[in-house]
Symmetry: C2
Subunit: 337 residues, 2 copies
């Protein structure tokens, strides 16, 4: 049984030219759209994740409360649920074109307006690449979005973040059985290498110093943690899907479009939404310094640093209760403002 709905967007002209034929956006919703059609929270997924993995922040008594809000979780293009290299008939595998966050958010806007007739978004929220989508919501639809709460993400992928992604890509592609994306069997060694490289970045130095992998997450050893968390996640994924999402991530920039023409400061300054930007203190690829710089150029933004040693994985999809409560509390503050 399918646990998601599908929005059929038809043939979509992408930002960088090509048509993505038969585009679909897989999504889930929680709660009910009110009569004014303005109790909407859009909560896009993260790199490699899917709608199910967003559920840790949704629930009764949480900020994202379905008894109050209509919460829409659209899957990132390329994640295997929305149109992706793994499921596209028109552009399968390595022929899949570059899809940007701009493309994603434009499609998400169509989902909200065409499918649900949404008139205003109360909040765009997301983690990591989900946060990048929240930033894009603020910049691309300044009069449509009341609040944004990006956490552990940026309005533009930094050069260092770009470089880290070059590394994981290279590790995957070093496996000859990847065959330039034309593999018939999964390039398993490449996926394992991808996972092992990624593992170094996903938490912080202090996380490992404190042995949180063992003491908090219950793994018997670092190696078991690498296998159980990272290999398990990425060897299940389709290699071309991962690369497609990385391309999306690497190109992320709220100003890289005709509206802002690359003027990043102007794009940040155009975000009218009340913003609560939450980097994690120890994030290795979305470090708080980048958020600080971005917030300083946004007219209506607060920086609230998540005081955690869990690095980019602050909250850990709900497994870190302290971080999750911090993030939930912050979103409550934002929603009540």
């Amino acid at each position: 049984m399918k646990d998601y709905e599908v929005f059929h967007a038809g043939d979509v002209a992408l930002q960088h030219g090509p048509i993505l034929a038969g585009s679909t956006l897989a999504y889930t919703t929680y709660g009910k759209l009110n009569e004014a059609r303005d109790n909407v929270i859009v909560y896009p997924t993260f790199f490699g994740g899917s709608h199910v993995e967003n559920e840790w922040l949704i629930g009764e008594n949480l900020a994202l409360d379905p008894s109050r809000y209509f919460i829409v979780v659209p899957n990132l293009l390329g994640n295997g649920f929305s149109t992706s290299p793994s499921n596209s008939v028109a552009s399968p595998g390595p022929s899949f074109p570059l899809v940007t966050i701009y493309d994603n958010v434009k499609l998400q806007h169509r989902l909200l307006t065409e499918q649900f007739g949404v008139r205003r978004v109360a909040l765009a929220v997301g983690w990591s690449v989900g946060a990048q989508q929240a930033f894009h919501w603020g910049a691309l639809y300044p009069d449509y979005v009341e609040r944004i709460a990006p956490f552990c993400g940026s309005a533009r992928t930094s050069r260092h973040n770009f470089l880290f992604l070059e590394g994981v890509k290279a590790a995957l592609k070093a496996d000859q059985s990847f065959e330039g994306g034309a593999y018939r069997k999964p390039p398993i060694e490449g996926l394992k290498a991808f996972a092992r490289v990624y593992a170094g970045w996903g938490f912080s130095q202090a996380f490992y110093r404190s042995e949180c992998d063992i003491k908090d997450l219950g793994f018997p050893s670092l190696e078991a943690f690498i296998l159980g968390v990272w290999e398990a996640r990425f060897t299940k994924a389709d290699a071309n899907n991962l690369l497609s999402m990385i391309a999306t991530w690497q190109a992320a920039d709220i100003s890289a479009n005709t509206t802002y023409g690359g003027d990043f400061s102007r794009a940040l300054g155009s975000i009218k939404a009340r913003a609560l930007v939450m980097p994690c203190k120890t994030d290795l690829y979305f470090p708080p310094e980048d958020s600080e710089i971005e917030v300083s150029q946004m007219p209506n933004a607060e920086l609230r640093v998540i005081p955690s040693i869990w690095g980019h994985s602050a909250g850990a999809l709900g497994r870190n209760k302290t971080d999750a409560a911090f993030i939930d509390r912050a979103i409550k503050d934002l929603l009540s403002a």
Copy 2:
């Protein structure tokens, strides 16, 4: 013409059992040994480096002044100059055994005593894995070493540092042409992936944010920097040599020997040498927090953080003049104490 000397150590019983037959230590010296044989500085090489790349800290008017000191630069086992997978007749390629920093420093001690009759070491200094060797000098020869100046390194490889190395290893091995180390041609794609993964770690986020790769190092782009610095370095290296040195690095621990039986605090507490420990503020794999913890357990140590955004590459082998001057100044302070 060979620009180094060779110390022939014969068949050496390694710490973890096997014999390394026909062991040699390639080394260079600068300056003259005085009559008391106590003006000696030992300055071991770093991961992937060789004696030549240590020269940026040696010279007239620098702390490591050959007119005053007899400076000995021993090459790390596995680096292609000292006994290594690439040159060992008895244990070539993937059959090369695990060599520890303990093994390296024991051999270096033999070089100093047997070859030169050195009675005391005035200073053991090094960068990165060179710093790890300096720490080992302090812990293994507490009555022989007067000072140590490890910079951007640790007395024990941290769990996170270990994990980062798992990533670069996996990237290299994902290339099937590595063939478990039995390659006949260099596994070039694996080496390139190794380099690209490594690149993300070698400097800091702030380095890339400030575009130091372009503005200070003169590369036209990030990609040119990756190719010119990282690929150029690691595609020249022998894959088994890199893996051997990584194994050395991953196992580094001044207490992992019969003297200290794994009691890290006791090993740190046994370092009698006056120590100046210099982490770089933004080092991603030898972060200053680790140095702080180590220094707090050393009886005669000062922590002096290098205030640089160049991350692990503080000094950059002399290309960052400010960092280089900071490090040189600190070593001068230590030598005059």
